[in-house]
Structures are given as structure tokens and as C-alpha cells.
């Protein structure tokens, strides 16, 4: 594992490579901040662009964009309530309320610090435990992914903005239906596609996301006469107290991030949502306001999780040659074109390459802090721009982003459609995040249920029965039951008695 450690120094000692990484991070932050323009897309564009380059500069730019882009998504979530990337959906839950209180600068400062801490955590785990986690990740069976996604559905309970669980479940159900459109994963039979070829490929969940968040937010802001909030930018670096007090939460969220990121079927978006859910259930005294209204903890958890997922996603990519998420899938493709196929053979024949990558991640993380912190004052100005100028710009960027995902005009119509739907959902206090959650999770539940049952030769009872004999499934079930139990009133009563808590 520590063979070729000298490779770590290569990106640290070459000014040229450092410059490439810095450029990557810088571009990544801005690409990530624009809704719809994703890291995956930026990296795949770079494949053609860097075709004639040497492999190391190409890799450095891509790693830089990866780091910057994952983090940049939170920017637009905090400032505009429009997440720039799926991984940033959760960052807007509390980030935007903070911005509305005039604390956008501090929120972004906090998100930067947490992203850097989370990514460092991910890198450390990548260095120390990569082979171990890789071994664990291939043991996840379809039934475990099923349970994991099912667990993700618990999140609906955390998304009840107006307090109505029924409304959250309605929007989640809608999302589940949208997520099931397209080809059946086992038979290829079209579902809800009305015999048009255009729906056979399903509706991309990023389209649903930027429609329901982006377009609908533009519509809402057009209607409401909200004057821009004057932002305080005197302090952007979060106080040491806020960071130190939340270190346990940061570590728990980063762990969630690394593990979810390392699983080949799930990525940073699910990690961030799960970490947010975890924070909401475990943090008893959010500060300065309750969750959903502007809690630092609501920003700390998803930010550290989605950044830690970067290191996580690279674990199966480097050790097994299997992508941990969509970006690493493209990254593998790029490296193959440059004549390197990540995986066990590369680890054995060129172990220093692994360390070059770790070094590049390390450098990118330093630049993340530098660019993240220095850009905040300019970014906060965005929310102070008059609505009549800002909203058209948002709509244009959203449409460009939506089009560029699959280069499809039909996607723009869907996006506008979901924007109008999202507008009405927001008007009547239906939490739109629950819908996006449904769209993200339902294909995972569906595919893995079908796959798992097929592996048991079509026996549904064996599919569920074997959950009780597998350690991984049992652990997941235990976490689920414990989560549900700890929310119930019984738990409070029992724990009061057990621990003789009197001052409750």
C-alpha cells in the first residue's frame, strides 16, 4: 500500500502541476456553482481538450475540477436556494436561510472550512484504509443497496418544511413515480413512456432538480417582493468555537461521506442528504436557529459529507478499477485514453501513480481553501443584485445547464414543466426536496429489488429472508430500527429511566 510513496511529492514539487491543479479548482468552483453545469460534464469535456497532453497535467486539472466542482455547488444553494449540483441539495436547506439573515458570507466561509476538513478526512481514509474499504464495498449485495436507499427514504421525515409529513410524502411519492419512468431495468420494457422514444431513457434527475429548485425559485422570487438582504461581510471565517464544537458531527458526517462515496452504486448526493438527516436527528441544540431556518449544523453535515465522498469515490476506482460515482467513471475513461487503466494492475505495476493522485488531491484541497475564502466577498454581492437583473441571468444559466446535460431540447421543456410544478408545490408548502429525493432514490430501490430477487431465482421471500443472515444487511436494518426508535417517545421514557435523567 505504501509502495511508491515518493509519488506523493510529484504534484507538490512541480510548479507546473500546482498551476494546473489551481486552475482546475478555480474553474471547478464556478462550474459547480452554475446549476446544471456539472463536474461530470466538465471532466468529460476535458477529455477531448487534454487529449494531446501528458497524463499528469491532464489528471491534475481533472482532480482540481473534481474538488472545486463538488464544493462549488453549495455556493448557489446558499446564495440563491438553487443547488448548483445534486450533492448540494442539502446545503441549501440551512445555507439559504442563513443568507436571508444576512449571514451569507459566514455560511460560505463555514461551507468552505467544512469542505476542506471533509476532503482531508476523505484523503486520510483513502491513504490508510483504501484496500479494506474496497473489500467491504464489493460485499454490498443488491439487497444492501435496497436497504440503504430505503434508509434514505427516512429523510422524507426531515424535510417537512411546514410540519406536514403528509405533504412531504406526497411530493416524495411524485418523485418516486418520475424516477421510475423509462426502461425497466430487467426486461427493457418501457414504463410510463406513452410510446414515445424520448421518455424511454427516463427523465434525468438533474433536470428535475434544477427545474424544481432553479426555475421555480425564479418564479417565486418574481412574485414575492423580497428586497435584497444587505450582507455582512465583516466576518467570513467561522469562529473557532463553531468549528471546534461541531467536530464530532463533522467526523460522523465525513465517515458517512467516505462510505457512501466508496460504494459503487451511490455518490456524494446521497451522502450529503444522509448526513443532513443524521445531523437533524442527532443534534439537539442547533445554532443559531432550528434546522431549516438557519442552523450551522445543517450546513456542516452535508458539506463535510459530500467532500469526504471524493476520497471515498476514489477508493474503488484506484484499488478495483470500478467507479465510485459518476465523476470517477469519466475519470477512468480519461485515464484509459491516456493509456492508464486504474485498478489492481496499475496499483501493482505503478504504485506511485496512486500517490500522485493523493498528492494532487492534497494540493487541490489547499487551493480549495484559498479560492473558496477569497471569492466570498464577490459572491455575496450576487444576492445584493436587483432581482430584475439576477433572475433572468439565473434562468438563462439554468437553461444552458439543463440543455448541456444530454444536449436535449426536450429536457428544457421538462425543466420548465418541473419548474412550474415546483412553483405551485412551494406556494402550498409542499417540500420540493422530497421530490428530488424520490427521483434519486427510486431507481436504486427499484433496480436493486429486481436484481436481488432475480439473484434469488425469483423468490421474494428469500430476498427478504437472507437479509436476516447477512451481517451487512443486519447492520443496516439495525441502524434503521434504531433511528426510528430513537425518534419515538418510548426512547425518551426508557433513557430517562435508564440513565436517571431528571433535569429534562
Amino acid at each position: 500500500m505504501f509502495n511508491g510513496l515518493e509519488g506523493f511529492l510529484i504534484p507538490l514539487t512541480s510548479l507546473e502541476l500546482i498551476a494546473y491543479i489551481a486552475a482546475g479548482v478555480f474553474v471547478g468552483i464556478y462550474v459547480g456553482a452554475i446549476p446544471g453545469l456539472s463536474v461530470t460534464m466538465a471532466v468529460s469535456l476535458l477529455i477531448s481538450f487534454t487529449f494531446s497532453w501528458d497524463v499528469l497535467p491532464a489528471l491534475c486539472v481533472m482532480i482540481g475540477i473534481f474538488s472545486g466542482g463538488v464544493y462549488g455547488g453549495a455556493r448557489s444553494g446558499i446564495l440563491l436556494n438553487i443547488p448548483g449540483a445534486p450533492a448540494a441539495v442539502a446545503s441549501g436547506f440551512d445555507g439559504y436561510p442563513l443568507a436571508k439573515m444576512g449571514l451569507a458570507g459566514e455560511a460560505m466561509g463555514l461551507s468552505t472550512t467544512q469542505a476542506v476538513i471533509g476532503e482531508f478526512f476523505g484523503i486520510i481514509i483513502l491513504c490508510l484504509f483504501a484496500p479494506l474499504i474496497a473489500k467491504l464495498s464489493i460485499l454490498f449485495m443488491p439487497r444492501d443497496y435496497f436497504l440503504l436507499a430505503f434508509m434514505g427514504m427516512f429523510l422524507v421525515g426531515s424535510l417537512t418544511e411546514g410540519g406536514s409529513l403528509i405533504k412531504a410524502m406526497i411530493t416524495a411519492g411524485l418523485g418516486i413515480l418520475v424516477g421510475l419512468i423509462g426502461m425497466d431495468p430487467e426486461t427493457g420494457q418501457g414504463r410510463m413512456h406513452f410510446d414515445t422514444g424520448y421518455l424511454l431513457g427516463g427523465i434525468n434527475f438533474v433536470i428535475v432538480m434544477i427545474g424544481t429548485f432553479g426555475i421555480s425559485e425564479a418564479l417565486v422570487q418574481l412574485q414575492d417582493k423580497v428586497e435584497p438582504v444587505k450582507q455582512q461581510v465583516t466576518r467570513i471565517r467561522p469562529t473557532w468555537e463553531v468549528i471546534a464544537k461541531n467536530i464530532p458531527l463533522t467526523l460522523r458526517s465525513s465517515t458517512i461521506g467516505v462510505i457512501i462515496g466508496a460504494l459503487p452504486g451511490t455518490g456524494g448526493d446521497i451522502a450529503a442528504l444522509m448526513a443532513y438527516d443524521h445531523a437533524k436527528r442527532t443534534v439537539k441544540n442547533p445554532h443559531p436557529k432550528p434546522f431549516g431556518q438557519g442552523a450551522y449544523q445543517g450546513l456542516i453535515a452535508p458539506e463535510s459529507a459530500c467532500s469526504a465522498a471524493i476520497g471515498g469515490a476514489i477508493i474503488p476506482m484506484m484499488t478495483l478499477g470500478i467507479p465510485g460515482d459518476a465523476v470517477t467513471a469519466v475519470l477512468i475513461g480519461a485515464l484509459i485514453i491516456h493509456g492508464l487503466r486504474p485498478g489492481p494492475m496499475l496499483m501493482r505495476e505503478q504504485p506511485e501513480f496512486f500517490w500522485v493522485l493523493v498528492g494532487a488531491l492534497f494540493v487541490s484541497n489547499i487551493f480549495l481553501y484559498i479560492f473558496g475564502m477569497t471569492g466570498i466577498r464577490i459572491f455575496t454581492k450576487i444576492v445584493e443584485i436587483p432581482k430584475s437583473v439576477l433572475i433572468p441571468i439565473i434562468v438563462v444559466l439554468t437553461i444552458i445547464g439543463g440543455y448541456s446535460i444530454q444536449n436535449s431540447i426536450a429536457d428544457i421543456y421538462w425543466m420548465i414543466g418541473f419548474g412550474i410544478l415546483g412553483y405551485f408545490l412551494k406556494r402550498y408548502n409542499y417540500p420540493i426536496a422530497a421530490m428530488v429525493l424520490g427521483v434519486i432514490l427510486s431507481p436504486i430501490i427499484d433496480t436493486n429489488f429486481r436484481r436481488g430477487v432475480a439473484m434469488e431465482h425469483g423468490s421474494v421471500s428469500a430476498f427478504f429472508g437472507n437479509m436476516l443472515t447477512s451481517p451487512i444487511s443486519l447492520t443496516l436494518i439495525f441502524i434503521m430500527v434504531a433511528t426510528a426508535f430513537m425518534q419515538s417517545s418510548y426512547y425518551d421514557k426508557i433513557s430517562d429511566k435508564l440513565f436517571k435523567r431528571t433535569n429534562k
Binding site: T40, M41, S44, I47, S48, F51, S52, S137, I138, F140, M141, G182, P185, E186, T187, G188, G197, L200, G201, A218, L222, K225, P264, G265, P316, L320, G321, I322, P323, A329, L331, I332, G333, I336, I337, G339, R341, G343, P344, M345, L346, R348, P386, K387, S388, V389, I391, P392, V395, V396, I399, Q406, N407, S408, I412, T447, R451, A454, M455, H457
Partner: protein, 342 residues
């Protein structure tokens, strides 16, 4: 006031964008190409088709003097991109970059189109599938596997990438020649199949040689046979299935998967020729040749009639094979796909 202004700008911008989207390339016929060319890749970024096309395009565009703007339009096994290019003008400014799949769209009910609606520019490379099992699997040879499958019909689990995909075709070929059946479980392609096999969740699967090579060499997976008439230079130690049993010779005449570039039928001949010439230069470039060899792909370099004949023969073999294995929605007869000659 400013609200009205915002609405006005919003409407204007939306209209402008839609108008921009509708405008096509208006090209002069004489000096092709006068503007940039669009290359629509029918599969996602980072996949096999994507890699081959992104390796070829930078060299081909130098020959043409204009850029080839690549974009991925994945979905429905490439049927969405195929339909998209078919809906554009037949002027050579829209290239379809796809794999073998359109030859099966009709029988699988995915689309009415096939490569009969397009003209080939270049059939670049052909890939084959290798049958692999986990490293500590009890099946040391293909014979072991077939014996176990015969003793327990439909019990051994085979990972496939969907009906019509290469592992599915492999299972169908084994069924046709040996009469063995497996329990198919669908995964989303080579990566997830490797994951499941490394995790010993499957008994057997078929992988593209390029995707499987490093695991075979590292001893993580055991290769039983290559589904081709010749051994693959990337893994020369693995026997071709025809060496184990010559009965496979017929069905493997035109098989495996292939990647290529097409334009819509009706494109002027001189345009096709110019594109073909440019792509042939890219194909012969050492960088591409090296890429193909490293990734276990067999070089084809077929154009024009040769390419059409190969595609037709492939369709006849595979469409009937899948139909007979029970995987097709429609009979190949309905689309005038001839039965393969014995």
C-alpha cells in the same frame, strides 16, 4: 416597473434560446465542411464508445479542417441519439457514433430505426467477450461450467447487462450450441458486473476483453474462454471458444460488439467520402492503433460496402439468435432480416 422589466427579459431570453436551438446548420454543398460538425455519441461519458470516439475525433478533425463537436446523448441503449441524428438533415454535419445496438432495436422494440437508415463512415473496431468466473470458483474450465449448468438447469447465476447486451448474447450462444440455461441477473454494464463478480455475487458473466484483462492478469478473475474465433492478443493464454468446440464457428462468424461512425442515409456521396477519408487517417494513426491494442479491441477499419455487409451479417446472426433464445419482442422476419446461412 422592474418586475415587468424582469418578465420582459425572461420572455425575450427564453424565446431567443428556443430560436437558437431550432436553427440548424445551413451548409453549402461545394466545400464540405464549411462549419463545425456535430458528433453525437450514443453512450455516456467514459464508456467504450465514448473512449474510442474521443480518441478518433481529434485526429479526424485535423484532416477536415473544422472541429468535430462531440456530445453524449445516452439513453435507451443508444436509441435516443440514433433517432436524434436521423431527425437531422442528411448533409454530413451530424455524425452518429454508436455501437452494434441499432441492429437489434427493431426486434427488441426500442426503435424503428436500424443501420439500414444510415450510411457507414467507418466501422472502427470490434470487441469480444470473455467468459469469466470468480477466482476461487469451482469451475476451472469451460467444460466444468457447462457440466454444472447442465446438471442444474437455470440454477447458475449469470450477470448480464440487459437483453441484447454482450453477456446476454453469450448466454444465448451457449444455449444454442450446448443447450444450457442460466439464471440471468441484470447489471448496468461492465463496471457493476466486475463489482458483483469480485464480490462473488454471481457464478459467471461475460465481460468485454478490455474491461476484464487486468483482473484476469492480476488473478482476481478466472477466464474460461473468449467468445471469438481467435484468441485475443491482450489475453493470449485464454482459449478461443472455437478451439474448445468447433461447433461455435458458425454462430461467431459475425459477432461481438463494434464501434463506428455513421451519417443519415441520403448524405451526398462526396461528403461521405470526405468524412471516410478523414476517419481512415485517424484510424491508421499510431495513437489509435495503440489504444485499440491495449484495450483488447480488434482493428476493423471497414468502410462503405464492406462495413454494410458486416453490419448486415451481424444483424442476421444476432437477431435470430436472440429471437430463438426468447429475448426478442418481435420476430426478425417482420423486418426482413434474413435467417443466417448455415
Amino acid at each position: 416597473m422592474s418586475k415587468k422589466f424582469a418578465w420582459a427579459v425572461l420572455v425575450l431570453v427564453t424565446v431567443a434560446l428556443i430560436a437558437a436551438g431550432c436553427g440548424g446548420t445551413t451548409a453549402k454543398k461545394d466545400a464540405f465542411p464549411t462549419t463545425n460538425i456535430n458528433g453525437t455519441i450514443a453512450w455516456g461519458a467514459g464508456g467504450g464508445t465514448d473512449n474510442v470516439m474521443r480518441t478518433l475525433a481529434p485526429i479526424a478533425e485535423k484532416q477536415l479542417g473544422k472541429s468535430i463537436v462531440l456530445s453524449n446523448k445516452p439513453g435507451a441503449a443508444g436509441a435516443i441519439a440514433t433517432q436524434y441524428v436521423y431527425d437531422q438533415k442528411a448533409d454530413g454535419y451530424n455524425l452518429l457514433m454508436n455501437a452494434e445496438n441499432p441492429q437489434l432495436y427493431q426486434i427488441l422494440g426500442l426503435s424503428k430505426l436500424s443501420y439500414n437508415d444510415f450510411e457507414p463512415i467507418l466501422l472502427a473496431v470490434q470487441g469480444s467477450t470473455v467468459i469469466v468466473v470468480p477466482k476461487d470458483s469451482p469451475y476451472k474450465t469451460l467444460d466444468d461450467l457447462l457440466k454444472a449448468a447442465k446438471a442444474n438447469p437455470g440454477k447458475l447465476t449469470i450477470g448480464i447487462s440487459g437483453v441484447g447486451g454482450q453477456p446476454y448474447v453469450t448466454a444465448a450462444i451457449l444455449k444454442k450450441v450446448e443447450g444450457v440455461t442460466f439464471n440471468p441477473v441484470t447489471f448496468d454494464g461492465d463496471g457493476p458486473l466486475v463489482t458483483a463478480l469480485l464480490g462473488k455475487q454471481l457464478d459467471v458473466t461475460g465481460l468485454a476483453v478490455g474491461a476484464a484483462t487486468q483482473y484476469i492478469k492480476n488473478g482476481d478473475l478466472r477466464a474460461l474462454a473468449v467468445m471469438a474465433t481467435k484468441q485475443n492478443p491482450a489475453i493470449p493464454e485464454v482459449p478461443a471458444i472455437t478451439q474448445l468446440n468447433p461447433a461455435y464457428q458458425d454462430v461467431l462468424k459475425a459477432s461481438g460488439f463494434f464501434y463506428g461512425v455513421w451519417v443519415k442515409k441520403g448524405t451526398p456521396e462526396d461528403v461521405i467520402k470526405k468524412l471516410t477519408d478523414a476517419y481512415m487517417v485517424a484510424y491508421k494513426d499510431p495513437k489509435f492503433q495503440e489504444y485499440a491494442q491495449k484495450n483488447g479491441l480488434t482493428l476493423m477499419g471497414l468502410t462503405d460496402k464492406e462495413a454494410k455487409d458486416f453490419a448486415a451479417q451481424w444483424q442476421s446472426q444476432m437477431a435470430w439468435l436472440i429471437y430463438e433464445a426468447g429475448g426478442a419482442k418481435e420476430s426478425p422476419e417482420k423486418f426482413n432480416i434474413p435467417k443466417p446461412a448455415k
